[in-house]
């Protein structure tokens, strides 16, 4: 059997025209009409193949470390992220009888003895650790499952034989609450889209129909929208601020532009936290900006602007922090545009403004595109700044992902949100490629 692998699957790269000529050249044949041989009598084709194979192995050896790096740091984590976001195997592993009984149930009548028996048998047979973990997972579908499972686990030994229903109802009256039973429906399949639904304020009901969550608890759609909005505003804001700066950088005499470059890069080298805290000092209610406005009489003391710990604060601080990501790519493109183009346009009769718009600006598109993509992608997943200055309505989806990773330990939901973010960014990239062309992009 032929080994399937790197080499055999690929079309033989070989014969470049030159080699082909060489192969068919009628030089030193062993026998007229026979295959070409090398000096040691091996057919030339085999010898060539062997040496090429060697060089390919060497090439593979060279790219192996980065390949390994890529697999370990990207492929495996993203794979595990996607798996976690749909994995719901635990409930099937721990509660097989219960879920089977659930299937037979009409979902509306009072649960009967056979269902209680199934739960009892499943819980009796289950591993304690699995059961505790499942309790946490079940709690995502209906608050209260966690303690119900715990109480039942502890009381299981006190139940001696059927009938199980009255015994379990006595352990905790919530077993009689039909909503708990109905919530099992969302967990019955080992692969679920439940986390993705949750990430957009939807959920499964007992029959796996998709429905909206309670009005009070809808937050994710709003957060997605807000994240998107903040990213757009920050990107546009950065573009407006960065374009003139980049133009100055590219056109000032070297000494001045070097100085300006240092000013651009300086914040880049400053700790993120320091920058955020200085913004707090500037923008808070009793901060520098408000104080100055009040003392100048431009603002009444009662109506101090709230620019911190809200949406505005997040936008302002993020714009400042992400500005270099916009300036640098635009600058690098502007630097390569010969000034003679503008002069030529003006010689041909264009006003400076028209020449700028018609001749100069189109040439900066690769830098603008790169800057916008860069800023938008960084902004959409931003986390630390909104956490610190977001306050009541400036926190973004990244903060919720962190919350579910760190505190609620709902990694399924965090993964689903991460995956949605990833898809959003890939889509954006694809759209950009269609509109402007990725080859056109110049990062710096």
């Amino acid at each position: 059997m032929r080994r399937r692998g790197w080499f055999s699957d690929r079309p033989r790269v070989l014969p470049s025209p030159l080699i082909e000529n060489f192969l068919t050249m009628p030089a030193s044949p062993a026998k007229p009409g026979g295959p070409l041989l090398t000096a040691d009598g091996m057919p030339l084709k085999t010898s060539l193949e062997r040496s090429l194979k060697l060089s390919k192995i060497r090439a593979l050896g060279l790219i192996f470390p980065p390949l390994l790096f890529l697999v370990i740091l990207f492929v495996i984590p993203i794979g595990s992220l996607l798996t976690r976001s749909v994995d719901d195997g635990l409930s099937n592993k721990v509660l097989p009888k219960t879920l089977a009984a659930f299937e037979r149930w009409d979902k509306t009548s009072e649960p009967d003895e056979s269902m209680f028996e199934a739960v009892y048998l499943d819980m009796q047979a289950a591993d304690t650790l699995d059961l505790s973990k499942l309790g946490t997972r079940m709690n995502y579908e209906k608050s209260g499952w966690r303690s119900l499972v715990k109480i039942t686990m502890r009381g299981l030994n006190r139940i001696d034989g059927p009938p199980y229903k009255p015994a379990m109802l006595q352990l905790n009256k919530r077993w009689g609450d039909i909503e708990f039973w109905q919530s099992l429906g969302a967990m019955k399949d080992p692969v679920t889209l439940g986390y993705y639904l949750k990430a957009v304020d939807l959920k499964y009901d007992g029959n796996k129909n998709i429905m909206r969550v309670k009005k009070h608890n809808r937050i994710y759609q709003m957060l997605w929208w807000r994240t998107f909005l903040v990213s757009i505003i920050v990107t546009v804001g950065c573009l407006i601020l960065a374009y003139p700066v980049a133009h100055l950088l590219a056109n000032l005499p070297l000494r001045l532009s070097n100085l300006l470059m240092i000013c651009v890069l300086m914040p880049f080298w400053t700790s993120l936290l320091v920058r955020i805290v200085s913004w707090m000092v500037m923008l808070q209610q009793n901060g520098v900006v408000n104080d100055s406005l009040v003392s100048l009489g431009m603002l009444h003391d009662e109506n101090r602007l709230s620019m911190m710990y809200n949406f505005t604060g997040t936008v302002i601080v993020m714009t400042q922090i992400l500005l270099p990501f916009m300036i640098l790519p635009i600058y690098s493109v502007m630097k390569t545009i010969p000034p003679s183009y503008m002069k030529a346009a003006q010689n041909l009769g264009a006003t400076p403004a028209l020449a700028f718009i018609k001749v100069y600006m189109p040439q900066t598109i690769p830098g603008v595109g790169a800057g916008c993509i860069l800023v938008f992608i960084v902004a959409i997943g931003y986390y630390i700044t909104p956490e610190l200055v977001g306050g009541k309505d400036g926190r973004l989806i990244g903060n919720l992902i962190a919350h579910h990773m760190q505190n609620s330990l709902n990694w399924g939901l965090a993964s689903a949100m991460g995956a949605i973010l990833l898809i959003a960014i890939l889509t954006l990239y694809w759209v950009y490629d269609k509109l402007v062309g990725v080859d056109n992009m110049k990062m710096g």
């Binding site: 709690n139 303690s147 009793n286 710990y309 610190l388 306050g391 919720l400 919350h403 760190q406 609620s408």
Partner: protein, 360 residues
């Protein structure tokens, strides 16, 4: 060349040796700031065993779960919050601890009965109580001074903004207490949808006056700078400002929400045996009491609190510490002991609702 090889081999051996000795150290993970310092002084400086590395973290089970699931556990002892101690123990992230190894109270009471609250599982070792507390700065209000949690929610009687945190813990309880629910019925009320609606209706009264904070140092700044007239904060922060920095902040003990803080040993901790010995040391009444010399958090063990009471002035500055203790007898009748099992059940749902409420 030979020399070069020798040096390399030598340094490799030294490095391996250092890893070997590193395993004999205990990595203790806790919150930073004055709190960590108090632990280092009370538990660390009095410990005669292995070297202790104090590591800071920002709470949460994320890192803990990652370490345990990947099998690369580097932490030994962790200081964790009440709901996380329950979830973490359920998930098998912590070692279960032999209850017999701990030091009993001087009168012979076993440790688990010497704690001021019920021990939730076998993973935990007692640490401290802290609380969410309302406070204001002296001189903020003319005439009558705020003295109850209902005053905190009354922006007409006591004008000005209110600093509150960006997550719902303690706020739901305080809102209900301020709305007139008796203390012993609060969690009963919170188990009903109506009760939660009632809490949010009360929160609505301060919503337009609320400034939200998420870092523990913030509320002190908010009140001192005058941005808010009152705020909720961790009692330790208010205490530190008063005791160490001489600020004129006035705590409102009425309606404080008392939370637990526990020690745990990581499942698969590299130095589990030494870690357990360290916890036996750290949870002994003398060490528990000693912590209060440095910060006003309440020791979890009754015998430790008795020790402090009997030896006032206890705080290192020469001040009586008991008036700043969240667990002293006088304030207990009007304190709410947070119910972590309620929060483990309903916390997720309430956080969503709170987030949605906050940003509307």
């Amino acid at each position: 060349m030979r020399n070069y090889v020798l040096t390399t081999v030598f340094s490799a051996v030294v490095a391996v040796g250092m890893i070997g000795t590193a395993q004999a150290e205990i990595n203790v993970v806790t919150w930073g700031g004055a709190y960590a310092v108090s632990q280092q002084k009370a538990y660390g400086d009095t410990w005669k065993g292995e070297k202790i590395n104090w590591i800071n973290y920002n709470g949460g089970l994320g890192e803990i779960r990652t370490q345990v699931e990947s099998g690369a556990v580097t932490w030994d002892v962790v200081d964790v919050l009440p709901d996380q101690v329950r979830t973490g123990c359920d998930e098998g992230l912590f070692e279960s601890l032999d209850r017999g190894m701990f030091v009993p109270a001087p009168d012979g009471t076993p440790m688990d009965e010497d704690t001021m609250n019920k021990v939730p599982n076998d993973c935990v070792a007692p640490n401290i109580f802290w609380s969410y507390l309302a406070f204001y700065e002296e001189g903020t209000f003319k005439g009558e001074q705020p003295s109850t949690i209902a005053d905190f929610f009354d922006v007409e009687k006591f004008p000005g903004k209110r600093g509150i945190h960006t997550w719902p813990n303690a706020l739901i309880e305080m809102a209900l207490l301020a709305d007139g629910v008796p203390i012993d019925r609060i969690y009963e009320v919170m188990r009903t949808d109506k009760g939660i609606d009632r809490a949010f209706a009360k929160l609505d009264q301060i919503k337009d006056h609320a400034v939200f904070w998420s870092a523990g140092s913030k509320p002190i700044e908010l009140v001192k700078s005058g941005e808010t007239s009152m705020a909720l904060a961790y009692n330790g922060r208010v205490g530190a400002a008063v005791l160490n920095e001489g600020e004129k902040l006035v705590p409102i003990w009425d309606g404080q929400v008392v939370e637990e803080e526990w020690w745990v040993v990581m499942k698969g901790a590299p130095n589990a045996e030494a870690a357990k010995k360290f916890l036996v040391h750290a949870t002994a009444p003398e060490q528990q009491a000693a912590q209060a010399k440095w910060i006003n958090y309440g020791p979890m063990r009754k015998s430790a609190l008795d020790l402090i009471k009997a030896n006032e002035p206890w705080h290192n500055s020469g001040v009586n510490i008991m008036p700043y203790m969240p667990t002293r007898e006088e304030v207990l009748p009007r304190s709410i002991f947070a119910d972590p099992s309620w929060w483990a059940d309903y916390g997720g749902e309430i956080s969503e609702r709170y987030t949605s409420w906050m940003s509307q």
